[in-house]
Symmetry: C2
Subunit: 134 residues, 2 copies
Amino acid sequence: MFELALNYGSEPLSIKTISEKQNISEYYLEQLFGSLRKAGLVKSIRGAQGGYVLSRPPSEITVGDVLDVLEGPIEISECIEDEDNCSRVEYCATRLLWIKIRDSVNQVTHSITLEDMVNDYKSMNIITSIKRGE
Amino acid sequence: MFELALNYGSEPLSIKTISEKQNISEYYLEQLFGSLRKAGLVKSIRGAQGGYVLSRPPSEITVGDVLDVLEGPIEISECIEDEDNCSRVEYCATRLLWIKIRDSVNQVTHSITLEDMVNDYKSMNIITSIKRGE
DNA sequence: TGAAAATCCTATTAATTTACTCGGAAATAA
DNA sequence: TTATTTCCGAGTAAATTAATAGGATTTTCA
């Protein structure tokens, strides 16, 4: 998704290209992009010169959106989602803890967009160039 | 650890007792307490009427201390710890993301103490009593 | 002193998850 | 029409997690 964001506005990127740039297996990427497409985060263009593009601008896709699709929403503990399971009061102090951790992660992932990542990446490159004395 | 905190200042709690209160297998608890003891978070008293006690007050043990021992420190991605692995600049934007997530979780877990959990638990019980009209 | 109650220690196992592989069908551009 | 590419579903290997098991050691207490 980072590669698609970097490339946003240009031609579609094929799985083969992304696989090479990010060093992730083609077969595996295929699976991931299947899910991302069904979730509406990317659009696919089939056939030669096809590939994938983001279906929204990078500024409107958060890391959390992507993780929710690829890894599922965070499940720190069953008792958070499945409240009826939690019949035993002793657990409840723990439950509050899991909720705080989950919310904290969601807060981070859903506030960082692909655009942020691209910007971080670009400014990082500039700093690296300066350090090398360029 | 929550049970030990609830019981802090009184007699040692045996694995059998904790197993019953928290509905966790005795065998499994044994393993966990082995690690906790080696890490210095609990003291053991062997023999009849023995068991475990916290080696510091609940206010001085954070949830993060416990999780670091039982689950190991958070490893969101290898490239955070093992910086030399990360030779490819393309990864770096992602790396910053993993660091932010990790730090966020650590911030939560290392700021909540066992005492906090006990207090939450106790005030929760009071509220529950009130709701029941007691 | 001996039996019961505990921890201590190491090895094994079953279920689940994760990353990955594979083969072939369908769509499209050149 | 052929090469390129997505689409789809099934299968696999390694790692992790929670749990199990058995026996040795330590300590209390009657």
